[in-house]
Amino acid sequence: MNSSNPTLAPLFSFLEYTLTTAQTTFDKLPGSAVILRYVKSSHQNDPGRTLLELILVIFAIRTLLQSRTRADRTGKHFIQFSEKEIDELVDEWTPEPLAQPLPTTEAADLAAVPVIAGANGVKPKLLSTGKTATNLASFNFANLQGNEHIKQRAIETLRKYGLGSCGPPGFYGTLDVHMDLENDIADFLGTEAAILYSQGFSTVSSVIPAFCKRGDIIVADRAVNFAIQKGIQISRSTVRWFDHNDLKSLEDVLISVEKERKKRRGPLTRRFIVTEGIFQKDGAMVDLPKLIELKYKYKYRLILDESYSFGSVGRTGRGLTEVYNVPASKVDMLLGSCAIGLSAAGGFCAGSRNVVDHQRINGPSFVFSASMPALLAVSASEGINILRNTPSIFETLQENVRAARAILDRVECITIPSHPASPVIHIYVKQQYPGLLSPVPMSASLSASSTSSKQHHSLHSAKDVARESARAAEYLVEERLLQEVVDETLAQGVIVTRAKRLPGQEIVEPRPSIRLALTSGLTRKETERAVTVLKGVLVKVLGKRR
């Protein structure tokens, strides 16, 4: 005892000193008296509470200090490994190859894609044979490609602006020619404003996520094109599908959504109908006046992708709104492609000023991408000028469409799902066993329940699975037949193409088809001759099958 006293004495004095200093500093702090009084009184009343509060404080500090990113490591699924075990696991792991070689059919198809030597157009030269062929494959509705005036203007623009814009629109990439083209489009369609994207394909997959957010409702056609599917996917909105081009089914879905909303009494969310003017997958045309009526009745906003109808139908190529005499301003977001409709590049979204300005900040592929080269924008502006001044273009085009359909409609072994006025014509092989191949029924029963894209793939019964595999097998056969038709037709000097798809990535596997895109650059005679060649091959190849 005695011996320990001298050694402990300085410690005690130090402790006492620290305590008093701590107390005086604590007293000096503003508000410390209040805390002290609170602690004292609460401790007096209920000593247990002090302990509880202390634990609370410690817990709060722990939560604050805890790293948020490492949450996975403490999760219940995390397994602790030693360094050695990790090394062994790393050594053991063998990844799949990054890409499997293409299956032979796909490789052959890729090799069979015709390559054009020199300018593409109505009668391009093929690289393989060196001969010219009639082109019924590429989008050149108004035959703006190769127009000397456009070329001249493009060259002038090149000399003034160079080629690339070298910047996104936000940072010195907005050229006056872009603004002119936006004005031209808005003026041409009759909307308040328009916004320009630098690739047609990326337009809609950027427009949808700019407006549709998590919790919003999208009602979309089941056969919308791939870009729309991706836009819907990235928007994370709730999706309801309606049967392809069936506005009755659309109304059913709209009613069921409305019912659900009333039942849930949720807050008002944004609701959109997404569909296409002329469908990329089969050339069908939507009944726009009816669609507009439904949209107003149920208070939806309409996103209409006119990529394949802008610059291809209507008296002057203004698209569906012109065909049906509907003011374009009734469509909230009207999308089109300058690449397809105007033989230039890029896409646009036309709408009210609010709609357009919103995209200037929120459209991912507008904000994060360099703006379109100036000469392409000028070419598109010139294209619009030509369209609005020469209605004869679309008279010729319609005449060609009628001529082609007159020939094709009489062919026994095919069916054509496209609208009679659509210059994009899809050709299906006529089903041998119609019962088997009627489109997989995913109508009322499925769409009434919440049909997310995932549920689409889950098939209910063994019967459906069998049906699905039979369908896949049949599609494969059809695809081979059609490819044979394409190759044979090419050999006879007419370029047509199978509608290329991304098997396994689409929401609904589209039926194999041959896609024609007619042009006003060919005369009626030439179109007839080319389509007759196709008809001959179709009859020969498909007839062989029987």
Binding site: H77, F78, F81, I86, P95, A99, L102, D109, L110, V113, I116, G118, N120, N135, S138, F139, I150, R153, A154, I155, T157, L158, R159, Y161, G162, L163, G164, S165, C166, G167, P169, Y172, T174, L175, Q199, G200, F201, A227, L268, T269, R271, Y296, K297, N325, V326, S329, I340, A345, R353, H358, P364, S369, A370, P373, L375, L376, N389, T497, K500, Q505
Partner: protein, 704 residues
């Protein structure tokens, strides 16, 4: 329903004929009233056509003066200093008051410049050149982010706090006092009365949810609008060394921007024109003109559906050769290259490990791929390695099955940071952890490396040790679009299974030609007649280099009609551009550091971010730079593109800039930096004066 601004739009002002369009009139008359009937709509269309016809036929020269320059093409092709005739009409632009029009030193008789000075600066001084190359055997210096003094941080946070509080107060008061201005943020009825159009329909009481919620748009409305002056500035002409701004002003606190009709020439240190190929004149532009004549404007369809031309095949082979891979594919938009190709590489059961600062297009692509995503700290190789250990040992979440494949996506040069990926370490890690490596060279291709082949060239790493090289043509090549390069198996698969192959429009011939011409002039062309000599030079090249370098491209690999002037064809101009860019980047970067600024990034990077911190200084900096006697335009970026506190200016150096141009920028920064209190880097004693920096430019520009 339509939002009717009381003022005409800025676009309407720029083109007076447009504002008289009947559509604008109609929409302003018909707010909430009867919509145009179908018949009147059709007649409106034809009226619009008529007025457009009148516009284009009658007064084309006056309505689009900016484009009537056919005379200038022939008249002034000799003159490389002043060429655009319509600038001569404008005394303000033709005078050299801003010092941008004429080179500071008149050329001597033996110096011949083939470029236009305003597009690509004249600089004959061989000493202002250096090589962009990593010193072999040394590790990449870790990137230190310098912190500003505490008062700066504190004031930055307080500024944002004030802005947010003020914004909310204004929203609160505004919604009550002038609900009309907040109409677009409130649920509302359509304003369109269906019972007039279709009498059988009754308007239902519930309306439309607002198109953008006021919470989501708060940042845009209350913070970004305040500095809208810095964004979306319309320009005209070539985005070269200088650029022509279309002057604008806002009468209503940036809600609308009106073009005043004037133009200002400014020094352009903002465009991604790294090698200065944004030119309206010169060999590349001549080739593009030739291609328009030969190929027209468009390729008319997607690659797989009849849009493939021989030019596509040639360009893809050339790109593959340029980046040193087996094969390549070209996509018509840079953003879409990432966003449509990544989903074809990875899917369910795969893991994407992504740098936290990766570009939005990469995030877009990974999100639609369905793969699992993990992020690692920006360029932090330890963080990457520990993450790799974790994910490989743990396997897929919950099931613990091994990952099918792991794809690590990094950028060669980060567009907001100016940092280089630590490629040597990543490649080392790749050997050990067997992941696949995807390098996005959007900014680094052409801009880095002794041969301009990007970040692999810079570090002298064999590009084949990387699985996928992605890049864009927008930046160094002055074109548009992007490419993916890799092994033939991978690329063929992507051609068929990537979204672009079947669906997206193929790249247009003029753009392809710009790519071919600029790329060939970087590589140099080997003509069959002089084969022995060029083989000799390529042989000596190979001894110097670590990996087999393809050397100049044989002329047979290019379209037969490509005919570049000797300086471009020999590759001498290409290499001079690379060396100028390397010098300018280092000079600006090191100069700013010596002046005392906080900068981020690697000195070799042409992207030089200068830290501003306070949001209020962004506007000020932008304005002060633009209003100088030699106007300089800059890009200012803030949250959400950067972390909240580190608002910055981003300079993009170009080979088109002369040393004097960089001096001008440094001088301006020096003065403005003092005014705005931006110099928080080097302590005062170690700083250099601007004169010292300018005189020691060679030392600064060639040191690493």
């Amino acid at each position: 329903m339509p939002f009717n601004s009381p003022l005409p739009s800025p676009m309407a002002i720029s083109k007076p004929a447009q504002s008289s369009s009947i559509f604008k009139k109609r929409s302003s008359n018909s707010v909430g009233s009867l919509p145009a009937s179908a018949a009147s709509y059709l007649s409106a269309l034809s009226q619009a056509d008529a007025s457009a016809r009148k516009r284009s036929s009658g007064a084309s020269a006056t309505s689009t003066p900016a484009l009537s320059l056919s005379s200038s093409i022939t008249s002034s092709s000799e003159d490389t200093v002043l060429h655009e005739a319509d600038y001569l009409d404008d005394p303000h632009l033709a005078s050299n008051k801003d010092g941008l029009l004429l080179p500071s030193r008149p050329p001597t008789s033996e110096q011949v410049f083939t470029t236009v000075h305003t597009e690509f600066g004249h600089c004959a001084e061989e000493k202002y050149r250096t090589t962009s190359q990593h010193k072999l055997g040394t590790p990449l210096a870790p990137h230190v982010t310098q912190d500003p003094p505490y008062y700066i941080l504190l004031s930055t946070y307080i500024s944002y706090l004030i802005l947010i509080v003020l914004g909310h107060v204004r929203d609160f008061v505004g919604k009550r006092l002038s609900p009309a201005s907040y109409k677009h943020l409130m649920p509302r009825d359509s304003g369109w009365r269906p019972q007039l159009y279709m009498p059988h329909l009754r308007p239902s009481p519930s309306g439309y949810a607002p198109l953008n919620s006021d919470f989501d748009s708060f940042y845009t409305r209350r913070l970004k609008t305040r500095m809208d002056e810095c964004f979306s500035q319309p320009v005209t002409g070539v985005a070269g060394r200088t650029i022509l701004l279309l002057d604008r002003m806002s009468p209503d606190f940036n809600h609308t921007q009106l073009l005043t009709g004037g133009k200002t020439r400014a020094l352009n240190i903002s465009s991604y024109n790294y090698l200065g190929f944004a030119q309206g004149r010169g060999g590349c532009a001549d080739m593009v003109e030739e291609s328009i004549k030969r190929y027209g404007i468009s390729s008319l369809a997607s690659r797989l559906e009849g849009g493939s031309t021989d030019l596509h095949t040639i360009s893809e082979a050339l790109v593959a050769k340029f980046v040193g891979m087996e094969d390549a594919l070209i996509s018509s938009m840079g953003f879409a290259t990432n966003s449509t190709i990544i989903p074809a590489l990875v899917g369910k059961g795969c893991l994407v490990i992504s740098d936290e600062f990766n570009h939005a297009s990469i995030r877009f692509g990974t999100r639609i791929s369905g793969a699992h995503v993990r992020m690692f700290k920006h360029n932090d190789m330890e963080s990457l390695e520990s993450l790799l250990k974790e994910v490989i040992s743990q396997g897929q979440p919950k099931t613990h099955r091994p990952w099918k494949k792991i794809l690590v996506i990094v950028e060669g040069l980060y567009s907001m940071e100016g940092t280089l990926v630590n490629l040597p370490v990543v490649v080392e890690l790749k050997k050990k952890y067997k992941f696949y490596l995807y390098v996005d060279e959007a900014h680094s291709i052409g801009a880095l490396g002794p041969h301009g082949r990007g970040v692999a060239d810079y570090f002298a790493i064999d590009p084949k040790s990387i699985d996928i090289l992605m890049g864009t043509f927008t930046k160094s090549f002055g074109a548009a679009g992007g490419y993916i390069a890799g092994s033939k198996t991978i690329i063929d698969r992507l051609r068929v299974h990537g979204h672009t192959g079947p669906y997206a429009e193929a790249m247009t011939p003029p753009v392809l030609t710009q790519v071919v011409a600029s790329m060939a002039s970087i590589m140099g062309i080997k003509f069959p007649t002089e084969a022995p000599s060029s083989r000799l030079t390529s042989a000596t090249h190979m001894i110097e280099e670590e990996y087999h370098h393809p050397g100049p491209i044989p002329a047979s690999a290019l379209p037969s009609w490509i005919n570049l002037p000797p300086a471009l064809a020999s590759g001498s101009e290409g290499s001079s551009r690379l060396r100028r860019l390397a010098f300018n980047s280092r000079y600006l970067h090191n100069g700013l550091i010596k002046l005392g600024f906080i900068t981020y990034g690697h000195p070799s990077s042409p992207i030089v971010p200068l830290l501003l911190f306070n949001p209020g200084k962004m506007n000020m900096f932008h304005r002060l730079m633009k209003d100088r006697q030699t106007p300089i335009i800059v890009v200012v970026v803030a949250y959400p593109a950067t972390p909240l506190v580190t608002s910055r200016v981003r300079f993009c150096v170009s080979a088109a800039h002369t040393k004097e141009d960089v001096d001008t920028v440094l001088k301006a920064c020096d003065e403005i930096g003092d005014v705005l209190d931006l110099k928080h880097g080097l302590p005062k004693k170690e700083r250099w004066s601007i004169e010292e920096i300018m005189s020691k430019a060679v030392q600064l520009g060639t040191s690493a």
